[in-house]
Subunit: 228 residues, 2 copies
Amino acid sequence: MQEIMQVAAQVFRDKGYSEALTAQIAARAGVVEGTIYRYFPGKRDLLIRVVEQWYERILADYDQQLRVLQGTRARLRFLIWRHLTVIHNEPGMCRLIFNQLRAWPEYRRTTVFDLTREYTRRTLEIVQQAIDAGEFRADLPLRIVRDMIYGGVEHHTWVYLRGEGDFSPDTAADAMTELVYRGLACEQPASSQRPPRPAPAEVTLRRLEAVARRLEQSAGAKGGSARV
Amino acid sequence: MQEIMQVAAQVFRDKGYSEALTAQIAARAGVVEGTIYRYFPGKRDLLIRVVEQWYERILADYDQQLRVLQGTRARLRFLIWRHLTVIHNEPGMCRLIFNQLRAWPEYRRTTVFDLTREYTRRTLEIVQQAIDAGEFRADLPLRIVRDMIYGGVEHHTWVYLRGEGDFSPDTAADAMTELVYRGLACEQPASSQRPPRPAPAEVTLRRLEAVARRLEQSAGAKGGSARV
DNA sequence: TTCATTAGTGAGTATTGCTCATCAATTTAG
DNA sequence: CTAAATTGATGAGCAATACTCACTAATGAA
């Protein structure tokens, strides 16, 4: 069965989903076509399993790398750069995820879906921490920030994924990080240092925002369906 | 032939590309299956023609509306809002474009491709003009800005396109415009011009409003299924 | 009237994901 | 140690569906 998945991964990568024939996968795996359907309910499920296995491997050392980094900017850049790099290194798999998997109704019940949520949640955390620290402003919805980061990354890589060009993960990550960072950063220390006026209201606001966050989390935690 | 395209548009919208059967399109159009292939080389080309026709109609009054608007921020917001609104109003067609058309090799030879380029070129122009006017900084690649805008929009609308939630074009457009604008704006005119400091009370109010908004959202998120 | 062109037909084909009755091998039971 | 049962694999065949093509009907020109 591992043999089938290995071969399937390769064929899917090379030919894309609809051009990859179950007959060919079976032949290359040295089994007959019916054998595939003993282990997988259908071609779609085969792809899902293949992608899931790949994705878990990709995300394995992810947290470890992130934990080392200090500072909002460095951590944000790492997230962006990482995503860009995965796409750059594995265009075949990413094409399958972007074009096929994500369009299917089964997608939500996939661990790819869950892992992606987990993956992007890191981004929200970093932004949230920066907000708490007074580094970022608090008046933009976190989701929008996440959408612009990940959407921007994918949009940027389309041409490459269509096999019609290339891109530099480093250059792109620098520019995107800069744009997001400046878009979210509080007023630059114009003249004097940091908090020119801590203002009692500031403390109050921070605590209000913390309350809101807790409410969000508790409200979100109970519903099992989609949110945030 | 117009009849076939009309029907095809409807069936594609309703059922998606692969679930839409040529037999069904033919039947509903009151012709036999072979007739479709007299006018269109294949099912793919039929979809392409359908989308092209739709897209041209969508972009018809686009420039006219844009020309009226003054100011970088208003124009940027319009572009973003417009894209969000099209997706919100025509999820079926947009799904077809995002999931099918754009993944095909023929895509580049499509007028949809050209029209999209033309469409996003407006964004680059606006940003470029703001750079020339000294309103925006010049050290970020224009393409990145464009990618984050359009990628962000699409990423934001996924859940809705999967039929699992909703979004507000207005709210999203506000937030995205703000993020991009602040990310690109040059240092605020520190001394002269503009409210040098928006007055602490104003800042406090804005942030309180943001807190309120988040509370509303989290309160709303718990009921029903997914949204916002 | 006749020929040519165009529009349309529908029976048929090729491809391909998938099923299922059957066989072989391996494990468990008596 | 034989018999039964479970598991693994087979491959012939089915069903769905995009697409083809030889042929007919209608329309227009000479």
